[in-house]
């Protein structure tokens, strides 16, 4: 007999919390850069194919798996996989569903703290003397402790990191309804309002410099949306679109299963799950695609915009955007809104990524809520020092490849095989449809059985092929940097080994509760 687990308070709270899980920094920073670099409007064709054939079926699987696990008192994938597949190895394969989200938070909380810091700097005018993109990059690097032009060391960044970690731990400590749901109920509407106000401001901007009429917002939108159909023949574009869909919808991590484990047995997963995915897509394509690129295009023009976009997402968000806001009336407020919405997008995701480990400690090891949160937060805090101190050496990139690229594709393939093929397609489909407010079209059963696994398998092979050898051999990495990268690998191995030990400790409980 399992004891009463926590539950979501309201359905809208659940939708906002799940949407908060999916909506992250990538919606506002990564998507517009990816679209611009991969065929503009034409990018949306492979993007929507990946949404329909990859993200939506996987999302339904993860919701259904989570609800099934929660019914039997399992909130993390070791227990859930053991229920679906009666094989001793299943619970160990499920470790990936705790390891990957936890591994991401090891660096994600630090990135999140940059947003909090820059929202504060916007209000207090800390970067207001910096009016060029190149100088603003220096400002960001100085904040990260890479030079001393603006900050004497890492002290400021570390304070904001501590604040961010404290906020994450506090929200987790307050629980599902009192912490995560409340955060989503307040945070997500604020995010929508801030993003919508900024989009309105962008769309009414016109051409900021009358002497350069071509540098205007409409041409900026064209920079993203004008389709280049010749790019559709390029496999790289299809991979980039599938990758973006993967990252933005947060499938393949194990975090969705944990949130879904707090559903009631007969709660709908089809419509509720689709609502969260569509909310994420609305925020990404309609709001995220209308902010950074169009406004930066209007201020800097096509050539510089290409440079900025090719420099990556953080270049756009943390170097170009603060400069743009300083050129606008009430720029400090708009800068505050921009970085605050990024922070909200970040924190609603990071609490979701930490929750699987908290749920495992409580459900399988029978730890108290306070102990589970304290140990999870404590390990994350200690581990985060590797990406913080080894940022310049690429420790963050190293962790990101293993957990954020290779790991998610591997886990998504595993969970699809276990849920759809080992648990049997008819059982998986019944789980998805049970309690459905509107039934999922039967066509998706075919997609789940054949298209989704092949799609994920192709992604896993392509990503490993493209990036794996260079990462494994540490090409172009100096000896000093290699030490940090090995440190990052050692950290990941240690976390995984600790999780194996905990799962081994809990094996009787996991197996008896099947």
């Amino acid at each position: 007999m399992t004891e009463k687990r926590e539950e979501w308070g309201t359905r809208i709270g659940l939708v906002l919390a799940m949407a908060g899980n999916a909506v992250g920094l990538g919606n506002f920073l990564r998507f517009p850069v990816q679209a611009t670099q991969n065929g503009g409007g034409a990018f949306m064709i492979p993007y929507f194919c990946a949404l329909i054939f990859l993200a939506v079926p996987l999302m339904w699987c993860e919701w259904a798996m989570g609800r099934l696990g929660g019914e039997k008192g399992h909130g993390a994938t070791p227990g859930i996989f053991a229920m679906l597949w009666k094989h001793p190895i299943a619970k160990y394969l499920g470790i990936l569903g705790m390891f990957l989200p936890f591994g991401v938070t090891v660096y994600y909380c630090y990135l999140e703290s940059w947003c909090l810091a820059f929202s504060w700097f916007s209000l207090t005018g800390r970067y207001h003397e910096v009016t060029e993109v190149a100088k603003m990059k220096d400002f960001l690097h100085s904040y990260q402790g890479l030079n001393t032009s603006f900050f004497g060391g890492l002290g400021t960044a570390y304070c904001f990191f501590l604040l961010t970690m404290t906020a994450n731990v506090y929200i987790l400590y307050k629980g599902i309804q009192g912490g995560i749901e409340k955060l989503a109920n307040w945070g997500m509407p604020i995010l929508f309002v801030f993003a919508s106000l900024l989009v309105l401001r962008v769309l009414t901007l016109g051409a900021p410099d009358p002497s350069l009429p071509d540098n205007n917002v409409i041409n900026g939108l064209g920079f993203i949306w004008n389709p280049d159909f010749s790019q559709l023949g390029n496999a790289k574009v299809w991979l980039a679109a599938a990758g973006q869909i993967f990252f933005t919808t947060s499938v393949g991590f194990g975090a969705i299963q944990t949130y879904a484990s707090y559903l009631k047995r007969k709660d709908d997963v089809v419509v509720t799950g689709l609502s969260t995915t569509m909310t994420n897509e609305f925020v990404e394509v309609v709001l995220g695609g209308s902010l950074a690129i169009p406004i930066a295009f209007a201020f800097f023009g096509r050539d510089m915009m290409l440079d900025i976009a090719n420099g990556g997402s953080f270049n756009l968000g943390f170097a170009a955007m603060p400069v743009v806001f300083q050129k606008l009336p009430l720029g400090a407020i708009q800068g505050f809104m921009w970085f605050s919405l990024l922070f909200i997008a970040g924190i609603t995701s990071s609490v979701a990524l930490l929750q699987p480990v908290v749920a495992f400690f409580k459900d399988e090891l029978r730890w108290s809520h306070g102990k589970a949160v304290a140990v999870t937060g404590g390990i994350c805090f200690v581990a985060a020092h590797v990406p913080i101190l080894g940022l310049k050496a690429g420790a963050l990139d190293e962790i990101d490849f293993w957990v954020g690229t290779f790991g998610v594709a591997l886990f998504a393939l595993l969970e699809t095989i276990i849920f759809v093929w080992i648990y049997k397609p008819e059982n998986a489909w019944r789980e998805i449809q049970d309690g459905a407010q509107v039934r999922a079209p039967g066509f998706f059963l075919f997609v789940l059985k054949y298209i989704t696994p092949v799609y994920i398998g192709a992604l896993l092979i392509a990503w490993t092929w493209q990036q794996g050898p260079a990462v494994l051999r540490m090409e172009g990495v100096s000896a000093a940097d290699a030490a940090w990268r090995w440190g990052a690998r050692g950290l990941l191995v240690s976390i995984f080994a600790a999780m194996c030990y905990w799962v081994h400790q809990a094996k009787d409980r996991i197996e008896e509760a099947k």
Partner: protein, 45 residues
């Protein structure tokens, strides 16, 4: 922006707004109570 660019933007914004709106309408609808579907007995454990 080209005519094709406008067409893509209009089509996708409309589609996403409509789908998101429909989903929220269902989620917030007073009749949206969880219910059992007429499914055959589950193979769940």
């Amino acid at each position: 922006m080209t005519a094709l660019g406008w067409s893509f933007l209009t089509l996708i914004w409309t589609l996403l707004s409509a789908l998101t709106g429909w989903c929220f309408y269902l989620v917030l609808s007073p009749s949206a109570k969880p219910h059992e579907t007429a499914l055959p007995p589950s193979g769940r454990m």
